[in-house]
Symmetry: C2
Subunit: 116 residues, 2 copies
Amino acid sequence: MPDIQPDKATVAQQIRHLQDTLYVVNGKWKLPILVAVHQGNSRFRDIQRSVQGITTKVLSTELKALEQNKLVVRKVYDTSPPTVEYTTSSYCDTLQTMILEMIAWGKNHHDRIREE
Amino acid sequence: MPDIQPDKATVAQQIRHLQDTLYVVNGKWKLPILVAVHQGNSRFRDIQRSVQGITTKVLSTELKALEQNKLVVRKVYDTSPPTVEYTTSSYCDTLQTMILEMIAWGKNHHDRIREE
DNA sequence: ATATCTGGCATCCTTTAGGTAACTGGCATC
DNA sequence: GATGCCAGTTACCTAAAGGATGCCAGATAT
């Protein structure tokens, strides 16, 4: 008996949760940036090089948004010139399994498309 | 020894997979629509009622996109007036775990925000 | 000396997503 | 015979996302 049909209220609830998630990670760049940072790219230019095709302006605004949502931490070191380091927060780690699922699906999908 | 640092090429690869996924499911509405349809809402108006705030135009265009990506199947029955039924494809099922993760995170996030 | 790297900012522009409102045509209902 | 339901379509519009280019200032590398 797979896939028990939940009542409308439950479905509506699930959709709302989904929309909450989308609100935070929506857009073309936020998740790719998070992956890049999480994998050790802490410098602005490193991140830019990791995320193919992103411009400085977009990266800059997206990093700010991610910082506001407490997924990314920005640290400035008082060197000269100042060094800036981005890291993912521990809260960002809660996104891990979700992101891994998305990566896995993308890989699968890509393979499937190529077969056609 | 958690979180072994993968090499740049691997990271770039992962980001590309992620972007492939985003290309298919990006936007405010596609995933919510998929959930609504998957949960048994097969009629246009039912879907619209399930996905709070969506307009007929947006729903119509999004359904077409989802059909093109083979996540949704559209069937027209030759009744009078014609009956139209949307269902999720079996390929769409491969998105299940990913979507469930997103729902779970959204719920968690919502609770967390409320606590502040 | 000059070329390049750093972490961005400013400006301008284009594209896309998404929203508003009105309308359709056939059927069923009141 | 007026109203409402279904499954949309059309035309128009706004806001936001994204892109292109140029620039800065200090530092390091050649």
